[in-house]
């Protein structure tokens, strides 16, 4: 009886410790900025956990099953202990149930231990390595206490069991409040409830950046407490599994970015500590232990170096892989915004591009009238007020690139072959401001959006078609928040649709070489469009050899997020890695659907697969038609 009472005491002491620790942690989270939260999110946690989160975790069945056993067993055991001992029921039946739960948990912990013996490089060690032991202690303690009848329990075994239980409870109760590894359980569940992008749980690919309220002097994230409190909470949810690190193109290229370390640095900033407790791989080239953060001190460069923030290509591969659904890219763009808007600190040639945008409304400093020079002999109609067209073709910055002009000419040829009623913007077209936004220049983006929305309002069209997924993303996903709502379609989707309706008679492609398709991040991950380009290629009679990383999990070409402009040095170039992916599947042609990908992959030095846009492949098939 006295042992059972001791368990009751231990339970309530642990609950109190956890409550105090959580309150302290919550106070840290609440130093962040106010966020619009739906308290109903708390009710949605089970669905979000078992469906949305588990969908990501299940990509690695070993750890998914291990986690189900460990966490499921632990959760069941804790609930049962709360009922049986917390409420002082001491029912033997419940003891058997606790034993069962502890057994399940112990099985799970065994597999955790097994994995931690030879962990993959992406996993963090440090405090995480003690987890199998403390969790095993908890499960063993519970098992001993419930297995051995209390009458026959010797004092020695009782003390040993209680000591094990105490060690396990310390990890759970003390560890969570003190920021130990187990904080992921509580922070993770709360994060699911108060996720900064709740629409993700409704099946929406929520990828648009949120607009800054510049008139309120909101200039992004300078210090940790400038994050939304829900974002600070999300950083605590990180389990340091390193899936983000594994998928990060900048990390692979040896640029000083590691999304996992970035999130852990922000946790260090949240709790006012340095990064020496971090036990994973560092930012390439930047040693661990020399950075320190404070809640209300500037993040760059004391906590995170500027090169880290500027290495990101905003490809969202980390977000796609994160089992805890953390939003790394939002955090990075938030920090970029502060650097850009308050200090004008932007590396490489990005300042030149930004001033070109402000002064000429093009990225390259070109005359706006020159944007459609490539179409001068194609007799392409130019849209004007009072002259309606079904489709408005927006060429984007690629129109100034001589290589990409071939793609645009192919696209126009296809549109003409399909007898589509289309027109181009001509001199009225200005940049969408997408690159400025990724570089943190929210002011330029918003002013471009405002002017573009005015331009579009004066014109009469049904849909916008563009061959640039970056244009597509900003017009389709980011302009609505600023008042511009349009139906925007990518050229691959349009061509697939026209071919499907029979308006575009495609022949069999004369391309006989082995071909692979590279998914643009802004088309695939940002917009979920991976099928239309493949359908179009199938229509052309081309079989796609899929690279190992393709579709929603495709590898970035290195061209997004203004990364070619900030040009942070690494050990190799990202497009070289992507080209090696194509080589690995023996592809001689790499089909693309984006001007950035075209430029990046064309820029690979040495012999490489030929880069052809899907529009070029489709246009070539017109000539092959019987």
């Amino acid at each position: 009886m006295s042992v059972a009472v001791a368990v009751t005491v231990l339970f309530w002491v642990s609950v109190a410790t956890l409550a105090i620790g959580l309150a302290r942690r919550a106070r840290l989270w609440r130093t962040g900025r106010e966020a619009d939260v739906e308290w109903a999110g708390l009710l949605a946690v089970p669905k979000r956990y078992f469906v949305d989160l588990h969908h990501v975790v299940a990509r690695d069945p070993y750890i998914a099953n291990t986690h189900i056993a460990t966490a499921g067993g632990a959760f069941a055991a804790l609930v049962l202990v709360a009922i049986n001992y917390g409420l002082g029921l001491y029912a033997p039946v419940l003891d058997w149930a606790i034993l069962l739960a502890a057994g399940v948990m112990l099985t799970g912990v065994y597999f955790v231990w097994m994995r931690r013996r030879h962990p993959p490089l992406r996993l963090s060690g440090g405090a995480w390595n003690r987890l199998p032991y403390t969790l095993a202690a908890f499960a063993l303690g519970l098992a001993l206490l419930t297995l051995v009848p209390s009458q026959t329990l010797s004092a020695g075994i009782a003390i040993a069991a209680l000591a094990l239980l105490l060690a396990g409870s310390a990890e759970l109760a003390l560890g969570i409040g003190a920021g130990g590894p187990m904080k992921h359980a509580v922070a993770g569940l709360l994060h699911l409830a108060f996720h900064p992008r709740p629409e993700r749980f409704a099946g929406v690919r929520s990828t648009a950046l949120s607009p800054l309220k510049l008139s309120n002097h909101d200039f992004g994230t300078r210090k940790p407490s400038d994050f939304l409190w829900t974002e600070l909470l999300s950083f605590d949810a990180c389990v340091e599994c390193g899936k983000c690190e594994q998928s990060c193109p900048a990390f692979a290229a040896g640029q000083p970015l590691n999304p996992k370390k970035l999130i852990q640095d922000l946790v260090a900033g949240l709790s006012g500590s340095n990064d020496s407790a971090y036990a994973g791989r560092p930012y390439p080239g930047i040693p661990i232990g020399s950075h320190h953060g404070e809640l209300s001190a500037a993040i760059v460069p004391k906590l995170i170096e500027a090169e880290t923030v500027w290495s990101c290509t905003t490809c969202r591969a980390c977000v796609e892989e994160c089992p805890m659904l953390i939003e790394h890219v939002d955090a990075i763009v938030g920090m970029r915004r502060s650097l850009n808007l308050t200090q004008g600190e932007v590396p490489g040639t990005a300042p030149e591009t930004l001033s070109n945008l402000r002064e000429t409304e093009t990225q390259g400093g070109h005359a706006r009238a020159a944007r459609y020079n490539w179409a001068v002999d194609l007799d392409v109609p130019i849209i004007e007020p009072g002259k309606p067209a079904d489709l408005l073709l927006v060429a984007g910055e690629g129109a100034f690139d001589m290589r990409y002009q071939r793609t645009l000419r192919a696209l126009v040829k296809l549109l003409k072959a399909a007898r589509v009623d289309f027109a181009v913007l001509g001199e009225r077209e200005r940049d969408t401001g997408d690159t400025a936004r990724r570089l943190g220049d929210e002011a330029t983006f918003q002013s471009f959006a405002k002017r573009n929305i005015e331009t579009f309002a004066s014109l009469d069209f049904k849909r916008i078609v563009t061959s640039d997924p970056h244009v597509l993303h900003s017009l389709r996903n980011e302009y609505p928040a600023l008042g511009g709502k349009y139906t925007v379609i990518h050229h691959t989707a349009l061509l697939a649709e026209l071919a499907e309706q029979g308006k575009l008679q495609l022949g069999k492609s004369p391309e006989a070489r082995a071909l692979t398709y590279h998914d643009p991040c802004y088309l695939g991950r940002y917009n979920g469009e991976t099928e239309a380009p493949r359908a179009l290629l199938r229509k052309l009679g081309i079989e796609v050899r899929e690279m190992q990383r393709s579709g929603l999990r495709g590898r970035c070409c290195g061209g997004g997020g203004g990364a070619p402009l900030t040009d942070i040095p690494g050990k190799q170039r990202i497009p070289d890695i992507r080209m090696a992916d194509a080589r690995d599947v023996g592809a001689d042609v790499i089909a693309v659907a984006c001007p950035q990908c075209t430029a990046m992959l064309e820029g690979v030095a040495g012999a490489h697969a030929e880069v052809l846009d899907i529009a070029e492949l489709a246009a070539a098939s017109l000539e092959a038609r019987p």
């Binding site: 200039f219 850009n340 004008g344 402000r358 400093g365 929210e442």
Partner: protein, 261 residues
Amino acid sequence: MSNAFTVAALISAGRHPVSGAPRACRGDAVAMALGRRMAGDGLRVVHAGAAEEPSLQDYLALGAGTIEALPLDSSGDAVATLAAHLKNVDIILTGSNAESGAGSGLLPYALARALARPVAGNVLDARVQKTAGEGWDVEIRQFLPKGQRRRIGCALPLVIAVHPRAPVQLKYAYARRLSGRIERFPETPTDTCVAQPVWTVETASRRPIRLKARETKSGHARMQAAVVAEAKGGIVAFEGSTVDKAQVMLNYLREHRLVDF
């Protein structure tokens, strides 16, 4: 840093060469950045012209802080207005050329003459240092062609025309654009009269450009051409009809990629 000397940078309304959009004149922005490095927060930024000039916003974003806008009187004589306003300033920094107006690059010289000071042109860097006495002088690094540089020392006060390629980094920050101020000064009557250069404006005549075949010979061939005297190559088309002769010319133009059809 408490300055015993005063520094002012002059800024003008810039225009982008392609789009004509108002912007900070690059040379003046560079001069302002150099002035910031010399004088820190003590730098005065002065614009002779309307306070409503849109390009002043760009200078605020580039860190002007407070811009003193001096309205020009009816004569539009910026030199006289500036000379009256800046006679107590030790170092006056200007760009080398304005992007709008005449853009003659004469302003620093005219201003120096009006204030009876020396002027240093094409300046890449300038540092103020204490002299043996209690005074100050400036050490200047000056741009010369073909990568040459010259170091000169000069006593205060003086006018410095900064070279557009002076090694400074321009940092455009939107927040500074919002926090910066433009201070309007009342129109000051000017008595100094500086002779204005007399310009006659005429439209540039457009001359045909002579197409020239690009030299595609190898190094060996060029060496041969230099050491061995031989007749210049080429075809003299005497034979055939006019169409044939035209075809010969067309072939030549195509071969040298002077036409693209």
